[in-house]
Amino acid sequence: MLRIECPWCGVRNEDEFSYGGDATVERPADDASQDDWYHYAYTRDNPAGPHREYWHHVNGCRAWIVVERDTVTHEVFSTAPASPNLPAGNREG
């Protein structure tokens, strides 16, 4: 089981979160080509090693976060809010 640190709530069990996909993919602009949109919708890398992923603290504060994680060792390097505009948590400790 992974233990993931929510930037607001602290370290919580994996079962409070749902996986939200690859966070390295950028959503194309509205005028981007069909090809760009196709790749955005369908193609993903499957790296063995460090990766950036979206996770949703769905059974907690409902924030989306970016988790830097090693997909082989499961080590979590960092977690950060996905949105720059949500008030940062000044969590104790």
Binding site: W8, A63, L86, P87
Partner: protein
């Protein structure tokens, strides 16, 4: 504002029961906090501090922007409820406020700074209290409620008995207020009640 006397009685989402308590042991008590008013406040972009200030001023209770903090007076709790959200919970009976009064108070205070959403009927509140309460909670939630990690004035949004819930610690008996969505109230109360049974004859 509705006339209190003309409203029908509020019906609890839990099954009617004979006693006042769902669990009533010498060292453990589980009680429904009936007919609560629960108001969710969400701040608009860049208005978080302002909304917290407005709530605090309106209620005379500090509204913290710090995650996991719950402040209260005798009848009203203001709990952190997410990065830009708070839940204000009060018993109208204890506060002496008329139904709808707290909603109006907060709407007026928050104004255009955020959204004020009535969740009073959408949440079931349970109070678990007693020397065994932390052990009962350990059967239902993975978060650390040890006095070194949690305590009165702290709250957490987490999974309790596999259901989304808010835990607010009220005192160091310990007493916990547990809030769960209305539709799951019976499953939730049953799970907590079941977890208490081991301590029936302590």
């Amino acid at each position: 504002m509705p006339d209190q006397n003309s409203l029908p009685p509020r019906v609890s989402p839990l099954l009617p029961r004979s006693g006042d308590h769902i669990v009533d042991y010498s060292n453990l008590r589980l009680t429904e906090r009936k007919a609560l008013t629960a108001i969710q406040v969400l701040s608009f972009k860049g208005k978080n501090e302002a909304v917290a200030g407005a709530i605090g001023t309106a209620l005379g209770i500090e509204c913290s922007t710090q995650p996991g903090i719950s402040n209260a007076n005798e009848h009203t709790q203001v709990s952190w409820n997410g990065p830009n959200s708070w839940m204000v919970v009060a018993s109208d009976e204890e506060s002496g406020r008329a139904p709808g009064e707290l909603l109006k108070l907060l709407q007026d205070a928050v104004g255009e700074l955020g959204a004020v959403v009535d969740q009073s009927h959408g949440r079931c509140g349970l109070r678990l209290s007693g020397s065994r309460a932390r052990q009962v909670m350990a059967k239902n939630t993975a978060i650390d409620l040890h006095p070194r990690a949690f305590g009165p004035g702290r709250c957490a949004l987490t999974s309790v008995a596999h259901m989304n819930a808010t835990i607010v610690q009220v005192d160091d008996t310990p007493t916990y207020d547990l809030f769960v969505i209305r539709s799951m109230a019976r499953s939730f109360a049953h799970a907590i009640e079941h977890a208490c049974r081991e301590f029936a004859n302590d």
